[in-house]
């Protein structure tokens, strides 16, 4: 068994049995459901808004080369510098090179999942730069030395007592159990760091081709500070983030906030078009953007699942997913957790090692219903299961499916098999069945009926 799968199964089993932690997660999400429904009710037609959002993303993704080129032309016209990275290593090298060129010492980051994807912090720290995550949740996870639990709510699984201890240990502050006081500790600590940093690294939620602007969505103001105070701004973005028109944001920004966090809009939705302009009194001297492929084009090449690139990373699919709520975000072992992570990770990192995530779904479809851009998430999980079976069928797949095919196409054999099975079922109930351990641990075999369904039908017993 591959490592990633073994770890997943172990973590999932442990977490699903942790009733306290599950109750904590459910409670934490409680307010989200209420607020989301209140905000959704303000839409005069949520379904049409979803249509518009999915069309906006569809038309950009399906014309990606042209739309990207247009974005790049306009971005450069605004005075920004564009870098292209085929994979994670290239993206890291580009950012390290910029840091070296500008003789940076301290780097401050606002939340950027793409940087988690390319393990940027490790690379920067190895090269000797101090890197601080400024989003409160990311800051806490960085101190904990742990990956984000949820790509929108990074430390939603951590209790306030643990955060207080963490701050006492690392920042030397007095213990407190008030979320407000804890937030203020981080606020005071980080303020000076923005001022001292040479480079601010952010992500991007949308790249607007029409104007060459990038759009960043946040609540805390840390991304605003990260792009205002340091003398260099670097944005790292996947190539699929581009949209055609500025006006597309009038649909996407509110929907991102409503679906993902139950807000009308997040606190700050900011558009950047270049470094400090002539006549402006502050802002960075240089503005770089790194456009990352890292296997996104592989997903693009699959027309059936191409719409997974429409994702605006709102996190709604995680918040409603029964699997996520039971096993937690860390068990996935991926940058992107939950249903969308289970769909795209096999494309980004290989179906063979990550197909087990396709099974991390009850196929209830809650994710598909929640998605503001209408990605057909639960069907894609099925598609991945099918593709994995096609690509490298296990021995069980082959024996079972060929055997089943053989039997089902011969009615007499099917009937005879049924008779044998019914006769031997009481015996099977006593034996430990090979390969069935995990399934049988919490289930009993049913009692065998005396007649098959076909016999009952024939004898008019039904």
């Amino acid at each position: 068994m591959d490592d990633s799968k073994a770890i997943f199964l172990k973590d999932a089993t442990v977490n699903a049995a942790d009733g306290d932690q599950r109750a904590f997660i459910r409670k934490a999400l409680g307010g989200y459901y209420t607020n989301r429904d209140l905000q959704k009710a303000r839409y005069r037609d949520w379904e049409r808004a979803r249509d518009a959002a999915s069309l906006a993303k569809w038309s950009a993704v399906n014309d990606l080369a042209n739309v990207l080129e247009k974005f790049v032309t306009n971005f450069e016209r605004n005075g920004g510098v564009v870098h292209w990275a085929r994979d994670a290593a290239e993206a890291r090298a580009i950012i390290l090179k910029i840091a070296e060129d500008v003789k940076a010492k301290a780097i401050v980051k606002s939340k950027c999942m793409t940087s988690e994807e390319i393990h940027l912090n490790d690379a920067l720290e190895k090269a000797g730069y101090g890197v601080v995550e400024s989003d409160l949740g990311e800051f806490i996870q960085q101190l904990r030395g742990e990956a984000p639990y949820h790509f929108v709510f990074p430390c939603m699984h951590v209790k306030r007592e643990a955060i207080s201890e963490l701050f006492t240990k690392h920042l030397g502050t007095a213990p407190t159990d008030s979320p407000e006081e804890l937030t203020m500790i981080a606020r005071r600590h980080l303020r000076q760091l923005y001022i001292d940093a040479d480079i601010g690294i952010t992500g991007a939620n949308f790249l607007v081709a029409e104007t060459g602007q990038i759009s960043i969505t946040e609540n805390e103001g840390n991304a605003r500070l990260t792009a205002a105070l340091p003398r260099i701004h670097i944005a790292l973005s996947g190539i699929e983030k581009v949209v055609n028109h500025l006006d597309d944001l009038s649909v996407l920004l509110p929907m991102l906030a409503t679906a993902g966090a139950g807000q009308p809009m997040t606190c700050y939705n900011t558009l950047y078009s270049g470094p400090r302009k002539k006549g402006e009194c502050d802002g960075p001297e240089q503005f770089h953007i790194v456009l990352l492929d890292n296997a996104r084009t592989r997903l693009l090449a699959d027309p059936e699942q191409r719409d997974a690139l429409h994702c605006i990373r709102c996190g709604a699919c995680l918040n409603v997913c029964p699997i996520f709520k039971n096993i937690g975000g860390l068990a996935y072992g991926t940058t992107y957790q939950g249903p969308i992570g289970s769909v795209i990770t096999p494309h980004l990192r290989g179906l063979k090692q990550w197909n087990h995530l396709s099974g991390a779904s009850s196929l209830c479809g809650a994710c598909t219903d929640a998605c503001p851009v209408r990605i057909d998430l639960h069907h894609h999980l099925l598609h991945n299961r099918r593709n994995a079976a096609k690509e490298s069928p296990t021995l069980f797949d082959r024996v079972f499916h060929n055997g089943f095919n053989f039997v089902i196409s011969r009615p007499w054999l099917f009937a005879a098999g049924g008779r044998v099975f019914r006769a031997t079922l009481p015996l099977l109930q006593k034996l430990p069945l090979p390969y069935m351990g995990a399934w049988m641990k919490t289930r009993d075999l049913p009692k065998a009926p005396s007649q098959s369904f076909r016999d009952q039908w024939k004898n008019k017993n039904v």
Partner: protein
């Protein structure tokens, strides 16, 4: 070795040779595609100026932003001066704008027109920052500031309190209208930063409990003239 740009663009063009079907739309008909058409399926922003102002007031209250309506410029200056006195502000930074100079002049504390230089530390030490804005979006209670209307990027985010002084005529019904207005006003010479501010800075990162004043301003005031 070919460069990354042409490689990635070639990969994309290759991948897109097979077409994907259009998304399956479920709303009542396809959305209008011209970009200036108001979108009647989004949250309502009001169809008259009066209506928009009512929605704006509701939204701002829900966002925990403080909405102060005043009849004229003199009343605006008075309102900000009272605020400053009651909160005991010692240092206030403001954007050098005709609308704001009289407001700053009416304050009894130390004031500083922050446009000329970029002194981060000094700005951090200010109790409040006063700016104008580009427009105000009734639909969402969002205030659009820019590096042009707000004395750069930091003045509206670094001080602990943000005060916006604006005219009632700057209220637009929805987000689409405010974006269209920016394009009309600035064309392809947009200020390097535009920011929709929707309430005071906040976080829910600790147990998903709402806390105001994460990294940006803890308090947000909109003083609307007219």
């Amino acid at each position: 070795m070919s460069d990354a740009r042409s490689d990635i663009l070639a990969r994309i063009r290759e991948a897109l040779k097979v077409k994907a079907p259009k998304p399956h739309l479920k709303g009542e008909g396809a959305p209008g595609k011209t970009s200036t058409v108001a979108k009647p399926w989004l949250p309502d922003g009001g169809d008259t100026a009066e209506h928009s102002l009512i929605i704006l007031a509701e939204q701002l209250a829900k966002l925990k932003a403080v909405f102060i309506r005043v009849p004229d410029h003199a009343a605006a200056a008075k309102a900000v001066a009272e605020l400053s006195a009651s909160k005991n502000w010692k240092k206030v930074a403001y954007h050098g704008h005709d609308l704001l100079r009289p407001v700053a002049a009416a304050l009894s504390c130390e004031t500083w027109e922050a446009d000329a230089s970029f002194e981060k530390q000094r700005l951090e030490g200010c109790d409040a920052g006063i700016t104008t804005c580009e427009s105000i979006v009734a639909q969402l209670g969002a205030i659009l500031v820019s590096s042009a209307s707000s004395g750069g990027r930091a003045l509206s985010i670094l001080p602990h309190v943000h005060v916006v002084v604006a005219e009632a005529s700057q209220v637009v019904p929805d987000l689409g209208a405010s974006l269209a207005l920016m394009k009309a006003r600035h064309g392809d010479q947009m200020p390097s930063m535009l920011s929709f501010i929707t309430g005071p800075s906040r976080t829910g990162d600790i147990e998903r409990i709402l806390v105001l004043g994460a990294h940006g301003p803890k308090e947000l005031y909109l003083v609307l003239i007219g």
